[in-house]
């Protein structure tokens, strides 16, 4: 064996050990990341899954014309403002005649959500022949009842409910008249002070309109800026200065953009507060650097040989860009745009500044209606004292995360799909 071979053999063991060590670092880093992810998801899903179902109580309700105080069926006004709560109260009193005195009665009435009355109203509007009849219905329970029903036996001792209320619920449970049903209102309602009535639909549509405005503004502006800077702009001190500033903007804290929106868009131009248009403009300012930077990288990645080929054939600058550079750079641009949009979707701070943090019950019908967005809704609910909002917060986070995952999957899919090889 020659001397070199001997030396090589000696060093081999050391090299392999270094390799193994490096591999171990990598695996442990990924393991740590995965662990954090699993912890996050278990925590959120563990807390949030119960919010997708809510408690209903089976009651026999009599649509009593006197209690409802309706004299004319065709009068919309009367139907809208009739005393549906009274009907429910009657049913509750009927069920538990033992409740006496103001205090106990109030406790009894608070078993059923204030939203249950609206359900009766809708039923009666649909079918006026119900008047005077007795109907067995599942009525939405109050959020405290909901928490009590969902919690385990040991936790029930800590409930906010009074002993009377507990015994009523337990007697209903014994009769199999308490049930968990799919939480329809979570996906159809706007925000509410009552957790059992609160939904994320208002925030989802608000987010949708905001994202729409952001996308419509930031993608064309970003791509146009990138193409100009990359293909047409002369290379001089001024364009260098612009480039430095774009890179700087990407690192500016987003709340600054919110302040800018408040001062300029709302203050100077007089656009209304809390509307998705203003939110979209502010988020456009925030996402533009991301889109410009990634679009420029995508344009740079187009091989110069393709440009030369087109130019050698006599294509004008514009034709080279439109026919060759843009189609080849588009997957990269789209990926950048979607990642920028995903960032914007999760952005809270700048929207607080422009008033999208207001308590808005109505689901917005357009980008000029006051609304809130998903991350701000999460922030609002996380701040609310009612115990049910804990689960709702986690449920909203789950919805937001699934939107983000969907968007990022779309980005990967688009990139794979549109990518052309050469």
């Amino acid at each position: 064996m020659s001397k070199t071979t001997e030396q090589v053999r000696k060093s081999l063991g050391k090299r392999y050990r270094a390799e193994k060590r490096f591999k171990a670092y990598g695996v442990s880093a990924i393991g740590f990341g995965l662990l954090a992810l699993v912890l996050l998801f278990t925590d959120i899903i563990g807390k949030g899954h119960s919010a997708f179902f809510e408690t209903y109580v089976k009651m026999e309700v009599i649509f009593d014309q006197d209690t409802l105080d309706i004299s004319d069926f065709r009068d919309e006004e009367q139907l809208n403002f009739a005393n549906y709560d009274g009907v429910i109260r009657n049913a509750l009193r009927e069920e538990f005649p033992s409740a006496s005195g103001r205090q106990e009665r109030r406790e009894l009435y608070s078993l059923i959500s204030t939203g249950a009355g609206y359900e009766l109203r809708d039923m009666l509007k649909e079918d006026p022949s119900l008047m005077g009849q007795s109907v067995t219905l599942w009525l939405l329970a109050d959020d405290d009842v909901d928490v009590y029903v969902k919690s385990a036996q040991d936790d029930r001792l800590e409930s906010r409910l009074s002993d009377n209320q507990k015994s009523w619920i337990e007697s209903l449970e014994a009769q199999d008249r308490v049930e968990l049903q799919w939480n329809q209102s979570l996906f159809t309602h706007g925000d509410s002070r009552e957790p059992e009535l609160a939904g994320i639909w208002g925030a989802v549509t608000g987010s949708f309109f905001t994202m729409l405005v952001t996308l419509l503004l930031s993608f064309p502006i970003g791509v146009a800026a990138a193409i100009y800077l990359e293909e047409f702009a002369p290379k001089n001190k001024f364009t260098d200065f612009i480039e430095v500033n774009i890179n700087n903007l990407a690192a500016v804290p987003s709340i600054i953009f919110g302040l800018l929106g408040l001062a300029v868009i709302i203050g100077l131009f007089g656009l209304p507060r809390s509307v998705p248009v203003v939110g979209g403009i502010v988020l456009t300012l925030m996402t533009l650097p991301t889109i410009i930077i990634s679009s420029r990288a995508a344009i740079k990645a187009v091989p110069p040989s393709i440009r030369e080929a087109a130019m050698g054939l006599g294509a004008s600058k514009m034709q080279v860009v439109l026919h060759h550079v843009l189609p080849l750079a588009l997957p990269g641009m789209l990926t950048g745009a979607i990642i920028g949009m995903a960032q914007a979707l999760g952005e809270t701070a700048p929207l607080l500044m422009i008033g999208m943090v207001a308590f808005i019950v109505d689901v917005p019908g357009g980008p000029l209606d006051p609304s809130t967005v998903l991350p701000v809704q999460i922030y609002l609910w996380a701040d609310s004292p009612e115990q049910s909002f804990v689960a709702l917060t986690s449920a909203a986070i789950m919805v937001l995360l699934s939107f983000l995952i969907a968007m990022n999957t779309l980005a990967v899919f688009l990139r794979k799909r549109l990518e052309r090889r050469w």
Binding site: E308, A310, G312, L313, G314, A315
Partner: protein, 295 residues
């Protein structure tokens, strides 16, 4: 192979050669930097006429006062060591150097009566008359048909689908590619082999019926069989087109060209009939190069 690399190479085998060249340099500056072009760079009724061409990359001068003619329907080969400026010179002929910001071209360059650097000249029109084939095959990531049809389309050469089909077919036939691709015109051009891709690029170039075709080392990325095919093609094309070809291979220059220009360090050293250049070179540098003493 890079010139600098070659000269800096102090590997034992090359030391002697390097010394020899350095010695030459010390002995006779005029040989290293010839002021006068020897041979016959000019012809009667040239297709392209270049006089005192100087090219600068920023401060650095890449071409020093090159004057030569390219005759109608002739194949002119530009040879010389790497970095001698032959590609730079070729790219002046259809103003591809315009894309490089710091590049500056001086001198008189004419295509027939047209001044190439006339500020009123539209470079798009010029490039339709002077086409170019590049070193690396660079088909567009589109179908074979669209690759060839692209030039005619942007210049509006064919109004009907039928006319376009015909242009595509004749161009591919001239490029000797028709029989190989006629059944898959709509599959991507990037899926062809290297040699086929280069012939596709040639078909794409001649689809706009240019008067002059510039070729920048068109075979350097190809194997010998593909190279032979391209060389055959050049011979055929020279019947209808004027061709200027930059090549690293002296054999190739000898095989395909009518006249050969030898460039050295940005200067045109010698230009003569190809036979003369390779059998009785007039200049010492040319002889040194073609006999392989450096390169």
């Amino acid at each position: 192979m890079d010139t600098a690399e070659k000269f800096d190479d102090k590997a034992p085998g090359n030391a002697k050669l390097a010394d020899q060249i350095e010695g030459e340099q010390a002995m006779d500056e005029t040989i290293r930097y010839p002021d006068q072009t020897v041979g016959t760079p000019y012809v009667d009724n040239p297709k392209m006429r270049m006089r005192d061409v100087e090219v600068f990359y920023g401060e650095k001068q890449a071409i020093h006062g090159v004057s030569l003619d390219i005759g109608k329907n002739e194949v002119v080969a530009l040879i010389g060591p790497s970095g001698c400026g032959k590609s730079t010179f070729l790219r002046c002929l259809n103003r591809m150097n315009d894309t490089i910001d710091i590049c500056q071209v001086k001198g008189n360059l004419h295509l027939e009566d047209q001044d190439l650097y006339d500020p009123k000249l539209d470079v798009v029109e010029l490039r339709a008359r002077v086409g170019m084939v590049f070193q690396k095959p660079n088909p567009f990531p589109k179908s074979i048909y669209d690759n060839v049809a692209y030039g005619p389309r942007i210049h509006g050469l064919a109004n009907k689908k039928y006319d376009l089909d015909e242009i595509v077919e004749t161009s591919l036939q001239k490029a000797g590619l028709w029989n190989e691709v006629k059944d898959r015109l709509h599959s991507p051009g990037t899926g062809l082999s290297g040699g086929q891709q280069q012939r596709l690029c040639i078909a794409r170039t001649i689809a706009v019926s240019p008067e002059v075709v510039l070729m920048d080392e068109p075979c350097s990325a190809l194997d010998p069989i593909a190279t032979a095919k391209i060389e055959e093609l050049i011979a055929e094309l020279s019947q209808s087109y004027t061709i200027a070809i930059v090549t690293h291979s002296m054999q190739q220059a000898a095989r395909v060209s009518n006249r050969t220009a030898y460039f050295h360090l940005g200067r045109l050293v010698e230009m003569n009939d190809t036979d003369t250049v390779f059998t009785k070179p007039e200049h010492d540098l040319t002889e040194a190069y073609i006999t392989g003493r450096f390169g």
